[in-house]
Amino acid sequence: MELFTNQVLAGIATGAIYACMALAVVMIYQAIDHLNFAQGEMAMFSTFISWQLMQWGIAYWWAFLLTLVISFVGGIVIERLLFKPLAKAPVLTNVAGFIALFAVVNSVAGLIWDFTIKQYPTPFGSSPFLGSQLISTHQAGMIGVTLLLLVALYVFFQFTRIGLAMRAAASLPESARLVGINTSWMIALGWGMASAIGAIAGILIAPVVFLEPNMMGGVLIYGFAAAVLGGLTSPLGAVLGGFLVGIFENLAGTYIPGVGNELKLPIALALIITVLVVKPAGLLGRPIVKRV
């Protein structure tokens, strides 16, 4: 039983990271109806930026805040330079754009900071949380930060004017323009926020997976699985999906014979396919119906 509780708690902790990635994926999906394959690489790059800032002697939390600002601006710049011109282009052109971004960001990170694995600090420490052997303080911190982020996003989207404008622009751009919303700018804001959320995910997971240019590969696939499971149109669903995927991954690795650590990743992929076949709208997403 203790093994089970242990695995569930560990699953919730890593699930928090998948939840952050899924949130970032959903933000951009809501804005432009595409999955950003480079989301993980953007997060990795942000994490390197925060590492570099700390190398220059800036304290952890200042580096954290500064990285969020840089990532937010960087996300907007990427949208303006690369994806705004592609707004009316076919899906495949956008996919090619995402893959190009993936490759470029990955290589540039390798060029600047090379591919050796680096230690990354945690502000929460790694001692047992509240004297319990089940979960470390860093894991508890990851869960806490994710929940805080979710609450902040909820308040932003429900109670602020810009949040409402972003929801309206995602819902029906034509009408949004008529009431005076600059929909193109709302998309850029979505990119900025997604990029900053990704940075949080990267910074939280870096102490666990260590810092290197390929650190987000697996995480992004779990993030996609979480987003699909929760429903690509629902931020709350994305977070819920993240925690579920985390728990499922850990339990399957422990209890299904032959899965172990090596076969954990295919489980995420199998989950994506299963959800798409059984319930394409996900747990909390709304079904997309097109009139033909």
Partner: protein
């Protein structure tokens, strides 16, 4: 048009000047001109395909006219991007309703006030004092409009589940929320029954009188147009057929011919 002329009060609020729209080889609008005066209800009529909705879409900047000009208070609107039409006081509804389907009635109306306030993402996120004060004021305004149109009972309902007639009222509320000078209504009576059309007519007149708006009404329902419009413009095949008081237009032989056909056909 000079400021002096505007000040005299006889200048049109909105002037459509020789507007043509061509889609490929099809001429949807062909040199249409008319004026809208402040405080009037202008009825735009015509058989299907006459170009009414095309003209409407030019006014809300969804279509770019191939030639001609549209002047709001003497200034051309054609250089403005669509999202900057609301701020000069033009609001509209759609024939088939274009609400935000997964937002509540209240949120749909609240979005309508977007052009009335100007906060940025930073002060919005930090909920600075002036943002909150502005929001409180706008919320009062939003609730007032929701009550005005009798939508209190459904204020927190997601609009996609509401009946079509109610959705049309929500859309009207969203347009009113921006406090436009000109309200463009695209077939507001479509899908309504006899009794509802009557109520709608009264409502449109009340909006004009109580909220001081100028209204452009595109409508198939002749009874409604003829009973509430001050001025009527008739279109057919993209051209202006007739213009005048409802009685004049009703008696115009060209209009009768367009609607009923002529003897020698």
């Amino acid at each position: 048009m000079t400021q002096a002329q505007l000040a005299q009060g006889n200048a049109p609020l909105l002037a459509v000047r020789d507007v043509s729209v061509v889609f490929g080889g099809i001429i949807a609008l062909n040199g249409v001109s008319f004026d809208m005066h402040k405080g009037n209800i202008l009825g735009l009529i015509g058989p299907n395909g006459a170009g009414k909705t095309t003209l409407f879409n030019c006014l809300s900047r969804l279509y770019q006219p191939s030639s001609g000009d549209i002047l709001m208070e003497g200034v051309s609107i054609l250089t403005r991007p669509p999202h900057r039409i609301a701020e000069i006081g033009i609001g509209r509804t759609f024939q088939n309703v274009a609400l935000f389907p997964n937002l509540s009635v209240l949120d749909n109306v609240r979005v309508g006030t977007h052009s009335r306030s100007n906060s940025d993402i930073i002060s919005d996120s930090l909920r600075l004092g002036w943002v909150r004060r502005g929001e409180a004021e706008l919320n009062k305004h939003v609730h007032e409009i929701v009550t005005y149109l009798g939508l209190d009972d459904v204020a927190h309902t997601i609009v996609s589940g509401l009946p079509f007639g109610t959705q049309k009222r929500v859309e009207l509320a969203r347009a009113l929320a921006a406090d436009p000078k000109i309200l463009l209504l695209d077939e507001p009576a479509g899908g309504l029954n006899h009794e509802e059309v009557h109520v709608l007519g009264d409502l449109i007149k009340r909006i004009r009188d109580e909220r001081h708006m100028t209204i452009l009404l595109v409508e198939h329902h002749m009874g409604l147009v003829m009973s509430i419009a001050d001025h009527v413009v008739a279109l057919n095949f993209g051209r202006k057929l007739a213009e005048g008081t409802p009685a004049q237009v009703q008696a115009d032989p060209d209009v009768i011919k367009a609607y009923l056909g002529s003897k020698d056909q």
